[in-house]
Symmetry: C2
Subunit: 460 residues, 2 copies
Amino acid sequence: MSYFDAASAAPLHPVARQALHASLDEGWADPARLYREGRRARMLLDAAREAAAEAVGCRPDELVFTPSGTRAVHLGVAGALAGRRRTGDHLIVSAVEHSSVLHAAEAHEAAGGTVTRLAVDRTAAVDPAAYADALRPGTALACLQSANHEVGTEQPVAEVAEACRAAGVPLLVDAAQSLGWGAVPGAWSLLAASAHKWGGPSGVGLLVVRKGARFAPQGPGDERESGRSAGFENIPAIVAAAASLRAVRAEAEREAARLRELTGRIRDRVPALVPDVEVVGDPERRLPGVVTFSCLYVDGETLLHELDRAGFSVSSGSSCTSSTLTPSHVLRAMGVLSEGNVRVSLPPGTPAEDVERFLEVLPGTVAGVRARLGAPDTRAGAPGAGADRVVDALGRRCPVPVIELAKVFGEVPLGGTVRVLSDDEAARLDIPAWCEMRGQEYVGEEPADRGAAYVVRRVS
Amino acid sequence: MSYFDAASAAPLHPVARQALHASLDEGWADPARLYREGRRARMLLDAAREAAAEAVGCRPDELVFTPSGTRAVHLGVAGALAGRRRTGDHLIVSAVEHSSVLHAAEAHEAAGGTVTRLAVDRTAAVDPAAYADALRPGTALACLQSANHEVGTEQPVAEVAEACRAAGVPLLVDAAQSLGWGAVPGAWSLLAASAHKWGGPSGVGLLVVRKGARFAPQGPGDERESGRSAGFENIPAIVAAAASLRAVRAEAEREAARLRELTGRIRDRVPALVPDVEVVGDPERRLPGVVTFSCLYVDGETLLHELDRAGFSVSSGSSCTSSTLTPSHVLRAMGVLSEGNVRVSLPPGTPAEDVERFLEVLPGTVAGVRARLGAPDTRAGAPGAGADRVVDALGRRCPVPVIELAKVFGEVPLGGTVRVLSDDEAARLDIPAWCEMRGQEYVGEEPADRGAAYVVRRVS
């Protein structure tokens, strides 16, 4: 078995396991108590806070532990917005943030706040100038991930932080995907992260609030974690989280270079091995272990299932997986193909042989799924002599609308059109992406009685 | 070392440790994923939910795991109030709830809601009739603990639940102190609990919402735990929590009888061994392992420190401990002595010898603290021939005001008074309690330039 979904959750690092076992005996008591079991728990908690702060590059009293990265984001966004309530209620986020940030933004909107969601380019990168433009006198907070969790693109955090600093607006960085690789540079004000992304245990997030950043914790609180994260501290897990962060950092430089070369192999070779594939995300500014691609004419859930059978655990942003009916918001914001989407995220230590085996298995797996779906020949033949065509794919889910489009396309004359009728949300993304990949013209979307009509013109 | 603070946090049960170790290898992946590591994690999570639901006596789909008992209470109160927003915004709690419930009530008030805090009797018990009287058409929710965390008194949950049911109001039970001993009886609607109170690991709480109870999760959410508790599930800890709940339940009947006898020894013998002690809480309807008493003329922090040196870890609701300036809200609501307060809460498995050793050590420890504080002779002598007296204890912290009162009392004639000037919050509780313990008349409190004047009349 090769587990290639470290961006969801990394397997427990051996140091985390060891630290967890050791601190179960020492760290179970209430650190607020004065008796020896409590003092021992307090010492462990303090030492873990110091180690984590050192790795983040902040003061220990700026860092609190939370029960998850999601909770760190929710608490951080709510506290920072409330702390600057007098300034205004405007929040800026990128369109490709993790759902925890987007959910916090939705909650802010539901409570009457205003939110600007900044577009990204086709690699998922934000434009620092767009942040600078969006900042205004009533902006209370801006949020930006250090790197994208679905396609691995690194964001220009330092530049955005500088724009925010110049405007006197705090920047909250969601560093969940990158903190194990290194400290986040720049003049950010708040930072959130999640231990199980770097090989620490589940149940530990961290929230950093720099001195000087206004912060008003929201919701019912208690005296724990500086009043910023209520509930009994999970000290054994916190100790394991801090120990493993230190351990992965010690290995980070070497392991990053190694994984970067392995994901580079996938980036380079998959388009040659598998026809009609789009590799997405920035080819240079990217996380070491993440590579994402999408395969035309492939149903993501079936592909994941077949890869699982072949011994590979990967994830997908396709709409046709895991009971979600819409493609991932990240792929949508990038405007790239969503069908047959595969994210490979390698945990540290992944052997090169596993990646080679994946590259061996993938072409046949994709071909098998395509054959079962009756996908068309991958290259359109010479233009046909037929008339304009209408494809009725109403009620059919991805990747069927694109498959049906491709099937008739060979019969369409140069300059002729195909109108694809579809009520599948993925078609809006995947039909234009198909056009871009195949060098055909995407004319646009027209309203229809049910769903929409997507119009494609044959130009080659 | 004898750890006698299980009501704060119980040491990890061997079954919890074993289950945690085993599930670290199987339960680290994302249970929302479809590959085998994800499916394995999902199976562990489902099995843990079934086991916990069986112990609670609910359906598995009524129970979600949260990162702590505090979080379960906060989420439960907020969701239940929001779910019945159209009915009204009135919340009922008892005055002796855990701080997590009281903090949730304060947050509700801050957001414009109304809260009724019901008084308790001298044993900390609520009166079901008081709940029935407080219920009104706009009541959205009532909360009651199953047993008090500071003095061990069991609450009449079934009766209060019945009154709530009759009025169509949901009752949320904070079962943190009792769930390890047995299911909570009665027609309650919501229940919260915390695994580290029953010997499970830190980092796991549970929230039960009965089918039919209206519930609208608040704050930013995600798709995990039925949308009721956001953030990546801590499956190894959840598995350990469920396994240890089952294990402690298997031992509960036998162990409850054994601990009840041991705490009974403390209840019975401490008043005989130590002069001027008040044992508090209900002598019959009580948790098996908890016994609480207060010692006149004793500084709680020093007593805890001395007991720790003698090898006993206990906690205290005194104001003069752990940097808090006010006595525990529970002792205050009961109207009992707060100075020199000691809570002994025995973990399952506590050997009888440890309790015997505690009873041996306690009298000398208390006497030592009293001697160091210059506490007066414990019995007032014959009435003196002096006049009314004024004791200026301004700026002095507990237990000094009571000690100063006792020092002059011997010189006061029958019918004469002592006015104690004090700005220590504890005096308001402890001077009337002293009067009750010593059979003297507490005349009342009068305003003063600083603090207040507490007036005591000598009647014996």
